[in-house]
């Protein structure tokens, strides 16, 4: 392709609307344009990147035994009524009516659609397992679409659904998809981690998120460099920390004026913060009060707490609600509470002679020994992991990072097959629900995540596997017939070698072309200048490292191929 033929309108200024780097750079590089909030046009360069990601995804899905199909974007409401999700989905679902006043939605996901499809054509265990997938637009009416393609309202996803006879079959399908996802993100040239994620109400280790590591990531993750353990911070399992055993002293109440925070009371009493017990009060969707207790230097993990008490939502409790169960904000302990659910982190139970509120204003207990003093409490792991916490698998200290969720694999079990009656006859003629899994890759989000991970002050740095073009040839002076002749010769040679090459034949200053090349982020730039004419050498510049090498014209091609293999 020649740049004069390419529709890639680059911008000099960073558009004010763009909050994150991928959004800024894709606008500036002429890759996307906004049509409405969270709704974008993908211009030719972005479309090339998306096609490459799609093709990698497609190959890995096919290799894993997946079959591609295409379900409608427009889905009739009836399907969603069958599972009850029409009412549950809320404002995030785009809904519309046809001219006959029938309800439809724009698919945010396709469990209902695929399950009803399969139930009508699959009857026997002989037809299982089955893995069906599609790559298409998905729709989610985000309350605040932002960050460009990171959180759009119309976005491209691959979604695969597996149907198995039983849990063992699902385990195999899940493993195939886990491996395929690992291949996908590896082949895209991305630094990523597959982390154990929160499976919500279903629980268990039945879901992994594939996180592209990037400082701008919305998710905090922990990982172990010693083993392959990695988890979403909300999910990371933690074993109780054992404190040194002490003789249990008698409980006493002490005055602690103006010590509403853990830091204040710890300082006032001259007690290590690790010997304090911190209280956090919540209310669930039924307005019931839930009191959570963790060690003074720890934080409550909302997701774990929510799962522990089976709450749909948790919000901070009101002062009235706390007082109603016998608590005093800023001075709480489990002792003396009535009518609230009390959840104590397992580490707290291992503490000796600790400090906690006395449920009276300006007073604390000393010498609390939880195993002795706490009654009717739920003990479990509810704390948030911290830097230096030990790996639950190997005990080595964990590291933290931030990630962008680009893929998720999920064991659904029989949730949808039971609700939608997707049954099959097993080897003994018994009717059983199919066991399902679902597996998503955010295709447009992966493109944005690749940029969030790979950029510098000059622009994007594409991994070669998903670059819109891998090589750009820049003739310094397009009016110089000899330079242009060499540039054209290289262009033809690279095309013949099946390298995706762009010839920047615009009559612009070299500086403008260099800036665009850096902004768009082609992995390699070949400069054809006076040296090419006089000495027969061209310069190959590596976008990622900034290194530049001079090669004679008989050697450059082999070096382009060698360098691309490393990028």
């Amino acid at each position: 392709m020649r740049t004069t033929q390419l529709y890639a309108p680059t911008l000099r200024e960073t558009p004010a609307e763009a909050e994150v780097i991928s959004h800024q750079l894709m606008l500036r590089a002429g890759m996307i344009r906004k049509a409405a909030g969270g709704v974008y046009t993908y211009l030719p360069l972005a479309w090339r990147v998306l096609k490459k990601i799609e093709e990698i995804v497609r190959e890995e899905m096919d290799n894993a035994g997946g079959q591609e199909l295409a379900m409608p974007i427009m889905q009739p409401a009836e399907l969603w009524h069958e599972t009850g999700r029409w009412d549950v989905y809320g404002d995030e679902m785009f809904r519309l009516k046809d001219r006959h006043n029938r309800d439809f939605c724009l698919g945010p996901t396709h469990e209902e659609m695929i399950t009803t499809l399969v139930r009508s054509d699959v009857r026997s265990y002989r037809q299982l397992p089955l893995m069906l997938y599609q790559i298409q637009n998905k729709y989610r009416d985000e309350i605040r679409p932002r960050f460009g393609l990171m959180r759009g309202r119309e976005f491209i996803m691959k979604d695969l659904y597996s149907f198995d006879k039983d849990e063992e079959g699902l385990d195999i399908s899940y493993k195939k998809m886990y491996d395929a996802y690992t291949n996908i993100f590896s082949r895209c040239g991305l630094n990523f981690r597959a982390v154990e994620a929160d499976g919500g109400a279903i629980g268990g280790s039945n879901t992994h998120e594939f996180m592209v590591i990037a400082e701008s990531g919305e998710a905090a993750i922990v990982y172990c460099e010693a083993c392959d353990y990695a988890a979403n911070v909300e999910k990371a399992e933690l074993k109780p920390i054992l404190a040194g055993k002490e003789a249990e002293l008698p409980l006493e109440i002490v005055d602690t004026p103006n010590t509403k925070t853990i830091e204040a009371v710890s300082q006032y009493l001259g007690v290590d913060i690790k010997k304090n017990i911190k209280a956090v009060a919540f209310q669930n969707e039924k307005d019931e009060v839930i009191l959570a207790f963790v060690r003074g230097d720890h934080e409550v993990n909302d997701v774990k707490l929510q799962n522990a008490v089976g709450a749909i939502v948790l919000r901070m409790a009101s002062e009235e609600a706390i007082l109603a169960v016998g608590g005093v904000p800023g001075f709480m302990s489990p002792i003396g509470i009535k009518g609230a659910t009390i959840v104590v982190d397992a580490t707290v139970m291992e503490m000796y002679n600790a400090v906690a509120g006395a449920n009276q204003v300006d007073k604390h207990y000393k010498n609390i020994n939880p195993k002795r003093d706490f009654k009717d409490v739920l003990v479990t792991d509810i704390r948030l992991i911290q830097v230096g916490d030990p790996c639950p698998h190997c005990g080595k200290p964990l590291k933290t990072a931030r990630g962008i969720e680009a893929g998720q694999v999920f064991k659904l079990g029989t949730k949808y097959s039971k609700a939608l009656k997707a049954m099959y006859l097993d080897e003994n003629g018994r009717e059983k629900p199919m066991v399902m899994g679902c597996y998503g890759v955010g295709v447009s989000r992966t493109m944005a995540a690749a940029i969030e991970q790979n950029f510098d002050e000059h622009g994007i740095i594409w991994p070669a596997a998903i670059a819109p073009y891998t090589v750009v040839i820049v003739p310094i002076n397009t009016k110089d017939a000899e330079q242009m002749e060499i540039a054209e010769k290289l262009y033809e040679e690279l095309k013949a070698a099946k390298i995706e090459v762009l010839l920047d034949d615009r009559k612009e200053r070299a500086g403008v072309k260099f800036k665009d090349a850096d902004l768009i982020g082609y992995p390699l730039r070949i400069t054809v200048g006076p040296k090419a004419v006089n000495e027969g050498t061209v310069e190959i510049k590596v976008r990622r490292t900034g290194e530049a090498f001079d090669y004679t014209q008989d050697k450059y091609l082999a070096n382009v191929q060698r360098l691309l293999a490393t990028l």
Copy 2:
């Protein structure tokens, strides 16, 4: 691919809902399933066909200089307000609101979107011409979706938009697209004609429809086998037919009781029907009366008449309206009419001493000589073409056929660029509107049209270029280890030769597999039976002709390749 791994649930019965053959066969062959009226899931076999058509379209668009991008399916209403089409489009447009109550539609087409995109980034003549295209779902809320994929509400289209400096540029872009479309339908292996179509109010020869010839086609076309002329019946240009010159006799009125039809008056007076003048009365959207006159054996072409008088709609005139302008239903001629537009077909003007109504009950004129007797009439070509009419280009008799519109190329001119202010600066710094064209291919419709053109009583007969697989290997007895070994060997050899082959490894009777192979319509079937084991020969059967050939295993591959090249 192995059939046991392929999700292609075939049906024995023809579903009652399916009215046309493509719909019936795609349901039976396990290619599509209905999700809602006019909304379908494409199962893996259909998806493979669609991908092949898409790839052919993509290559031809790229070769013609098109650049692929992807615009949103969800379009904000504001764009459509700018052209006024939000209000004009009516119930055919799917509309929805987001959570903030903003209006959107599901794109039925993308002129507004592409024009506003281009206007914001293209400023100079140097950036033109530009051809941008996409392949994606389109939406049209048909009042009565039917015929399966032939008239769906969610369907796949390729739409390309061209932007040029001037009409000459548009002519070039239009020609490129016309040629690309010719390549597309040729490469798909379809029998088609590019016909001149009606351009509506814009007029002129600025649009062609690409018609896949099929008896079930909704459109009637005429074509010439002597030259390459072809046209939609509504569009076909006709030159006036010259009658033998006669001496003009004096006009007279004769009694013609009970002769309200042309046949009746012609019989009563003993005059050839070709010497009668037929009248048809219409009213336009303003209730104005339009009287059309054609020769007795001709029919009025509504589309031509509509264009001739610039009407938005035409309906049959009421009796009152006819009487009000001085006409008498059944006995009309232009003579004596007041307050109506009179349109006379050019052939009528060449008649001598003809018969027409006298605008009195049961009375006709004889010896009408239009050139002498008709005043204040609009003379133009308003008749419908008939079998045997001469080709307007070469004069040979025309043939008729029925066709399915699978593509259309259209010169838009400056309609959208003016409305949306898509301007550029020309070489002299003057601001001008871009000159546009739009070019559509119905991708999913082309798949259906291919079936409407290529089927028999056993099922589909795919052209090899768009077949889901080109070869199916059927081992007669999967329990016979020797047969299976040969089948597997052939399977690997064909795959290695880059032939898209399916191995029917199901433990079914051979008859069932043969039926499925015929139903789905793979171009070639290779049967591996006892002869393969005993004599080393396999049978290749050609789906289209039913011919079967035995080949030794060292010769079959070359013959597969040879046969596929002809299919």
